[in-house]
């Protein structure tokens, strides 16, 4: 996925000279995960900007750039360090279009690695997509594999509005897929049915897609797996169509349970598809705790709990 993201940046920057990349260590270092590797050498330090260590400044400056006609792509080194910039995102990026009655827009992308499973230090493992999905005016995109990552990042960069692009670092280098060299896009706001099935619908995103696939392999039933890919705007039609077919739903996310995005999906299903349900909606999620340090992270992350959840819903 790292090299797919890198390719998306290369391709888009070749196509549009208004694109700039800003962040900590994105220049000569190529980003701590190497997503911006080689960009600085190719595009120079005017377009690939190593910033001072200040997330609020990075995003605030990027908002100004976006408003003035550039297309900034911000890298926040870890999603756990995006909070100093939260104010800029909530108070300004998400509102600029509305506040100026359409005179200004904010075509800004904030890329940031999220999620656990890499035995990291505190603040390097959490999954807080629901915070961003809650903010009116932001879009939230989370790819689960390299092919989607490239197409979705290109779309995010071309999008006229601010996009939070959450990258599942756990599968940064874990999944191999064919990725075309040329630029291509995958529309924001379209879910993907990864696998068709009739007995149960499994809904997830990001790094949990891989876990869901493994869980499905362990059960003896026909499961439909949906990767929502975009939390906001959500492609609920694809979800509802699947629920109509299967009548059973498991939602999986590694983020904490309470107020997680699974709750939003569950309530949409309850609002629009209750009569199609044959079992209560099941959520398999992280706990409402601080993401633990390495020794307990296996207990935190959904793994065999997914299989158990699917079985329970099937047996209901």
């Amino acid at each position: 996925m790292v090299s797919a993201l890198n390719q998306a940046l290369f391709c888009e920057m070749e196509l549009d000279e208004n694109i700039v990349v800003l962040g900590e260590d994105v220049g000569i270092d190529g980003g701590v995960f190497r997503v911006t590797e080689g960009l600085w050498q190719r595009f120079g330090s005017e377009r690939i900007i190593d910033t001072p260590l200040g997330e609020s400044g990075i995003v605030g400056v990027a908002i100004g750039m976006a408003a003035y006609g550039l297309r900034p792509v911000v890298e926040i080194q870890f999603s756990g360090f995006s909070y100093p910039a939260f104010d800029q995102l909530i108070s300004h990026a998400s509102r600029l279009r509305n506040r100026s009655r359409g005179r200004f827009s904010c075509p800004l992308v904030v890329r940031t690695p999220y999620g656990g499973g890499v035995r990291a230090l505190e603040h390097h493992s959490e999954s807080m997509e629901a915070l961003y999905a809650h903010v009116p005016g932001l879009k939230v995109v989370i790819p689960s594999g390299p092919y989607d990552a490239k197409g979705l990042l290109s779309s995010a960069i071309r999008d006229p509005d601010p996009v939070i692009f959450y990258e599942p670092k756990r599968v940064y280098r874990a999944i191999k897929e064919e990725v075309p060299e040329k630029a291509y896009t995958i529309p924001i706001g379209e879910a993907k049915v990864i696998q068709n099935g009739n007995d149960v619908t499994i809904i997830s995103w990001g790094a949990m897609i891989r876990e869901c696939k493994e869980a499905i392999d362990k059960i003896d039933a026909s499961a439909e797996l949906i990767d929502i890919r975009t939390l906001k705007p959500l492609d609920f039609k694809t979800i509802l169509n699947s629920v109509k077919k299967t009548g059973r739903v498991v939602i999986v996310h590694e983020a904490p349970r309470t107020g997680g995005f699974g709750a939003e999906i569950a309530s949409l299903i309850a609002e629009h598809g209750l009569l199609h349900l044959e079992a209560p909606i099941m959520r398999v999620t992280g706990f409402d705790t601080i993401f633990p340090l390495a020794k307990l992270e296996k207990s935190y992350l959904p793994d065999e709990r997914i299989t158990a959840g699917i079985k329970k819903v099937l047996e209901f």
């Binding site: 000569i28 270092d29 190529g30 200040g54 065999e304």
Partner: protein, 358 residues
């Protein structure tokens, strides 16, 4: 009409020269035993760092931030504190933490990914590690104001890097400290880099120390590889704070000889030549030269010290590795004083699963 309404200057302090000679005029009082103790902590920090690198490569602990080259900055500053004072650290001050009594096995445990490493015994006045850069100086200001309200005449010292001074929170902390005249000592370990970003790209200002001036309190720059200068500057700052004369900012000019963390490769963004130049200014070598010049140290004492340190570290490694694994309760227990129903439910469902798995 135009006139100058203010003028500023920034002092630089160096006491111990590269050749181990020292400027007697500024030399603070330190007994032979104290100087030897400072040397002990610096070497302990260095050796622990080396051992941890080695443990990390073997997968026995996780990612950590080595402090090689910065021992004088953290040991020298922490050594100027009294037992009742507090440290609000970031993540690259092991030397200072050791001075303040950080148990080595707990430090290792934390970096092995076990939260129990953070639960320091009462009496060790060290606040937990703060990884979000630039955020903790504000806590130091609050700590200091609270202690003053309680009429406890203590001083709070907080550590951060050159990169940390670019965060908004840092500036708000400085401003609060100035406004409330808080008994805080800000220690900036300017190790020249924030990961790959050099100091020159963090601020246009020629010193970091001068930032304090705009908040209305003194800032001084010291040779951060000179443990006497760091000690003296901190001692003066601590006294100011304790006497009710407000905060001080100390910029320790030092150098990170190792990688940013064990996940970093510094050769991508800096020249070996530069590292070699700074290696010559190694703070430990410099203090050792001083000790030898002053006839305060012998080869025999050095051997005994190294042996003692190796034993201390090995016994801590053993204790860390013999620790029984944490149980899942640890994840839930400290979320609130009283565990709410939903956490109780989540915990018991998790425990059911784990016991089924057995």
């Amino acid at each position: 009409m135009q006139k100058t309404v203010e003028k500023f200057s920034v002092l630089y302090l160096q006491i111990l020269m590269g050749n181990g000679e020292c400027d007697e005029k500024d030399m603070p009082y330190l007994s032979k035993r104290q100087i030897q103790e400072i040397y002990f902590f610096m070497v302990l920090a260095r050796k622990l760092d080396e051992r941890m690198l080695n443990l990390q490569r073997q997968g026995r602990i996780g990612t950590f931030a080595p402090s090689k080259g910065q021992e004088a900055s953290s040991v020298g500053s922490a050594y100027a504190l009294e037992p009742k004072d507090w440290i609000i650290p970031s993540f690259r001050e092991i030397g200072g933490l050791l001075v303040r009594g950080m148990p080595i096995d707990q430090y290792l445990l934390y970096y092995a990914g076990d939260e129990r490493g953070s639960n320091l015994p009462k009496g060790i006045n060290i606040f937990p590690t703060s990884i979000p850069v630039g955020t903790q100086p504000a806590h130091a200001v609050g700590f200091a104001i609270a202690a003053r309200m309680k009429k406890e005449n203590l001083v709070v010292i907080t550590y951060f890097g050159d990169g940390g001074t670019s965060e908004g929170d840092f500036h708000e902390a400085m401003n609060f400290a100035g406004i409330f005249f808080a008994p805080v000592v800000f220690i900036c370990q300017n190790n020249q880099y924030a990961i790959s970003v050099p100091r020159s790209k963090q601020t246009r200002a020629s010193t970091i120390a001068q930032k304090a001036i705009s908040y209305g309190f003194p800032g001084i720059q010291v040779d951060g590889n000179d443990v006497f200068a760091v000690y003296k500057a901190t001692l003066d700052a601590v006294k100011r704070a304790r006497d009710g004369n407000g905060p001080t900012f100390i910029e320790c000019v030092t150098y990170r000889l190792g990688d940013h963390t064990t996940a970093d490769d510094a050769s991508k963004y800096r020249q070996q030549k530069e590292v070699d130049e700074w290696s010559k200014k190694d703070p430990i070598l410099r203090l050792r030269k001083y000790l030898e010049n002053m006839k305060m140290w012998s080869a025999k004492e050095e051997d005994a010290l190294l042996k003692d340190i190796a034993e201390k570290i090995e016994s801590a490694v053993k204790s860390m590795e013999n620790k029984e694994p944490p149980c899942v309760d640890d994840m839930f227990k400290f979320m609130y004083e009283k565990m709410p129903w939903y956490l109780q439910e989540q915990l018991s469902s998790l425990k059911e699963r784990t016991s089924e798995g057995e």
